[in-house]
């Protein structure tokens, strides 16, 4: 069982298509302090590779990427 990650903010992008989840994630992470965690929920099947690339490029760490039913759930830590 994975250790529970406690998020500071939740962003639900369910039903939104590329590039909206990336855009909203980028905006939401700017509102956080360094070290805080954003939980992002998406249903776009392109979201897992997109969030991995977004994390790699922006330096905001992708702590976990999971699925729950048809939802993709990401925990991102602001750099």
């Amino acid at each position: 069982m994975n250790e529970v990650i406690k998020e500071d903010q939740v962003l639900d992008c369910s039903g939104m298509l590329c590039p909206i989840p990336v855009v909203k994630t980028s905006k939401a992470i700017k509102e956080l302090q360094s070290g805080q965690i954003l939980k992002m929920i998406a249903t776009d099947p392109g979201a897992p590779p997109d969030m991995e690339a977004w994390s790699r490029q922006t330096g905001n760490e992708l702590l976990r990427s999971t699925t729950e039913g048809d939802k993709f759930i990401f925990f991102l830590k602001k750099k």
């Binding site: 590329c18 590039p19 990336v22 855009v23 994630t25 980028s26 997109d50 690339a53 977004w54 490029q57 922006t58």
Partner: protein, 133 residues
């Protein structure tokens, strides 16, 4: 002085080139939404409109150009333009391709910037990626 604004060597620069316009509505939205995603990844992003490209950023065309979709419910190009502008994507045109359509800068939507062929080549050489459509 480059058209690129960043002095931060960590910030990557992506230049998109759009050559399509009104005649090819299905080819008009993608450069805007890829540029939007690029900007959301903290890159500096510009789109250069040449050949028929300036038609994409001419006043009124945002509502007129509808991206067709199988089964209907096409979306107006304006949606993709506004999304790109909102996240800081810069839109560039050059004089000869405006002349081609009888446009002046007054025909361009708010935010469009004029550059020349030399500046474009300079930007391309400085960019981390140049992507043409």
């Amino acid at each position: 002085m480059s058209v690129w604004k960043t002095n931060d060597p960590e910030t990557r620069k992506i230049l998109y080139v759009q050559t399509h316009g009104e005649k090819d509505p299905e080819r008009t939205a993608t450069p805007f939404f890829l540029a939007t995603a690029g900007a959301a990844m903290d890159n500096e992003v510009c789109i250069y409109f040449t050949m028929n490209g300036p038609q994409c950023v001419a006043k009124g065309n945002g509502d007129k150009i509808v991206i067709p979709r199988k089964g209907g419910n096409g979306k107006e190009l304006k949606f993709f333009i506004d999304q790109a502008l909102e996240i800081g994507v810069r839109l560039l045109v050059c004089q000869p391709s405006l002349d081609l359509h009888g446009y002046t800068m007054d025909d361009m939507i708010e935010g469009v910037e004029m550059i020349g062929g030399a500046a474009f080549n300079d930007m391309a050489c400085d960019a981390d990626a140049v992507i043409g459509f």
